[in-house]
């Protein structure tokens, strides 16, 4: 018994070390937890194909930025773009990696998924604590025919600092001057009202359990937990249900051409079919690579992911970058990065 285990351990170790020695390069990255699932799926397939492994630590965007500034990793990943000054100061460049959607979810008896319509202003007023009942005239006016109860709304937000909150509050700041003045946007903001759930799972647990509540989660969580998501009115004035097509439309119609270093948060994108709360994560790398071999391997990995990773991204309810944006990024690599 012991002998077989010992042999097994020895064999496993031999396989592992053998494999390790065959690897050309191990790339390290750190940062956002938002991209962690898709990065790890991409890197597993990529490692099978090329032998290059990507070791990604999902320590949070703040940590990722600190690590890349200290040059301890080959790339950082952040849910918020770095400012032009910060990029210039450290000689860094950044580009989007993948797109995801953030959706409002509710728990109101009798209201089905995709039935309730919300506008940005109404959503902001709910999160400001100005609209406190489900049968408020503002909500009822948008939703004729939906039976809304005369119950108090329990607002749920993220308690941990997160890219999801960053994009959600950024959207509210764009559509509501009052939100912008009173709260602003960031990974954690001074919420005027409500409960804080830890992580997407915390928010979805609170919303599922607390009757007459509203929250916001990444699209994948809403789907997996079969939550009641809402429609949103976008910048073009159309009501949309959240889906991959609407997220892709937001990524495609956002004004990337006018955004130096892709410094653009694509909430409230102008397209007719664009979901208004769409988010991305930026990879951050040195323009003058500290380790040329690693940098090249990292670029190869991202190029491979952009061109071959759509299926895997879709299976995790992310949306791969649209072709036009990928071309723009590859052009950015050529012009900005020394390879």
């Amino acid at each position: 018994m012991f002998k077989t285990i010992a042999i097994r351990v020895a064999v496993t170790a031999a396989v592992l070390f053998g494999a390790a020695s065959a690897h050309a390069t191990d790339i390290t990255g750190a940062g956002s937890s938002f991209v962690y699932p898709v990065l790890s799926k991409w890197s597993a397939t990529y490692a099978e194909k090329t032998g290059n492994r990507i070791n990604y630590q999902s320590i949070g965007s703040g940590g990722g930025i600190a690590q890349i500034k200290a040059a301890t990793v080959d790339f950082g990943a952040s849910d918020a773009p770095l400012s032009a000054e910060d990029l210039a100061k450290f000689g860094l460049g950044q580009f989007p990696v993948v797109v995801g959607g953030i959706v409002p979810v509710i728990n109101v008896e009798g209201v089905k998924a995709g039935q309730l319509k919300l506008t940005g202003e109404v959503l902001a007023d709910i999160y400001l604590g100005k609209i406190t009942k489900w049968n408020d005239p503002a909500l009822a006016g948008l939703n004729p025919g939906v039976a809304l109860p005369a119950k108090a709304i329990t607002v749920v937000h993220r308690s941990d600092g997160s890219g999801t909150s960053y994009n959600f509050t950024n959207y509210l700041s764009k559509v509501s001057p009052e939100w912008k003045a009173k709260v602003g946007f960031g990974t954690s903001v001074p919420w005027p009202t409500g409960l804080g759930g830890k992580g997407n799972e915390g928010v979805s647990a609170y919303v599922s359990q607390i009757k007459n509540s509203i929250g916001y989660v990444e699209y994948a969580y809403a789907l997996q937990n079969k939550m009641t998501y809402t429609q949103m009115q976008n910048a073009a004035g159309n009501y949309l249900e959240p889906n991959a097509k609407a997220f892709a439309a937001a990524a495609a119609t956002a004004d990337w051409a006018g955004a130096k270093d892709f410094n653009l948060i694509m909430t409230n994108a102008p397209g007719a079919d664009a979901w208004p709360i769409t988010a991305t994560t930026w990879a951050i790398m040195y323009k003058q690579a500290k380790n040329a071999e690693h940098a090249k391997a990292a670029f190869d990995f991202f190029k491979w992911s952009f061109e071959n990773g759509q299926q895997q991204a879709a299976s995790l309810d992310y949306v791969a970058l649209p072709k036009e944006l990928v071309d723009r990024i590859e052009n950015y690599w050529k012009t900005e990065f020394k390879q």
């Binding site: 937890s33 949070g60 941990d160 709260v183 954690s188 409960l195 830890k198």
Partner: protein, 327 residues
């Protein structure tokens, strides 16, 4: 040369040599023990000093206002520790209010009342409970206990206790199932094993002679416990209670799940709040600005201070008790 053949001289015999060697070993042993104890002291001072140093930016920026400011605004960089301190202390108080009497009951039952065949299984069950990771308590609290409280307990609490003038303010508010009361109860369940196993151990040290004498004089079980067992073990019992309190003050994951993490100051125990440990756990990974990170580390330092103050007060109470008894 054989020692036995040489003339006996002081300082040269086996016995004397052994004495010297033993003294040296004793000295080394003492140093080793002292090093072990100093390690704890060094770790404590090191942690306190490094959190104070890491939080210096927050202390410099806000000064003493950091202690009683309600603000926690990462966007505009305005931070204050009042809400987390309040939440930490209130949840720990609720936990102690429940855990101390229950643990006392458990320990007494196991040492004085329970039939022999029951003692070992229950004692092992308690030790098992102590080994459950706190995240499990958090998830249980969130998915099982909070909905139960929201459905069945809090509406009743609202209607009955909430109507009492004065105290009622503690029990008003929407029955969400998430809040300081839930966090306090979950904490109580977590610390009961610690307190009760310490109590059980020390109750076992009371000499049977003393107890039997009291019984022989016609005492009831309660009188034996109150007049014999408790005075005999008082300082160890209080030590156990403070072990539990320390854990309740510092608990992170379980509290984060059920406390609601809202930066609001409210009298009602049914409302969500925040605790020092859970603010740090929630926000540290995504704290972009130096001031935000520094304020979180400063909170960590304040947790040290709060725990230290609580323990110091307890020690003072003990001393005063001992003096009154001596007089």
């Amino acid at each position: 040369m054989h020692a036995t053949t040489a003339p006996p001289e002081p300082g040269d015999t086996d016995v004397d040599l052994r004495g010297v060697r033993d003294a040296r070993h004793d000295r080394l042993f003492r140093y080793a023990l002292m090093a072990c104890a100093l390690l704890v002291l060094a770790a404590l001072l090191g942690a306190a000093a490094s959190t104070a140093w890491g939080g210096r930016l927050a202390f410099e920026t806000f000064g003493l206002r950091f202690l009683w400011s309600e603000a926690w605004d990462a966007v505009n960089g305005d931070f204050g520790a009042l809400v987390p301190i309040y939440g930490t202390v209130v949840t720990a108080l609720i936990a102690m209010t429940i855990a101390v009497p229950v643990s006392f009951g458990i320990a007494l039952f196991l040492t004085e009342v329970a039939p022999n065949w029951m003692r070992t299984p229950i004692a092992s069950a308690i030790e098992l409970l102590a080994g459950i990771p706190s995240i499990i308590f958090g998830m249980w609290g969130l998915f099982v206990f909070a909905p139960f409280l929201a459905e069945h307990v809090e509406p009743w609490v609202n209607d009955h206790l909430g109507a009492i003038p004065g105290v009622g303010a503690l029990f008003q508010g929407p029955p969400l199932g998430i809040g300081m009361l839930t966090a306090g109860i979950v904490l109580a369940i977590m610390i009961i094993p610690y307190i009760s196993s310490v109590m059980r151990e020390v109750f076992l040290t009371v000499p049977t002679r003393l107890k039997e004498s009291a019984y022989a004089l016609g005492s009831t079980t309660w009188e034996v416990v109150w007049d014999i067992v408790l005075p005999y073990t008082r300082s160890a019992v209080i030590g156990g209670v403070f072990l539990g309190l320390g854990r309740a003050l510092g608990e992170t994951m379980a509290v984060t799940f059920v406390l609601g993490n809202a930066h609001q100051l409210s009298a009602s125990l049914l409302m969500p709040s925040n605790s020092i440990a859970s603010v740090i756990a929630n926000e540290f990974t995504e704290a972009y600005t130096d001031l935000h990170r520094s304020s979180l580390i400063a909170l960590g330092f304040l947790l040290f201070v709060v725990t230290f103050v609580v323990l110091a007060v307890a020690k003072l109470m003990l001393l005063r008790l001992a003096r009154r008894e001596g007089a």
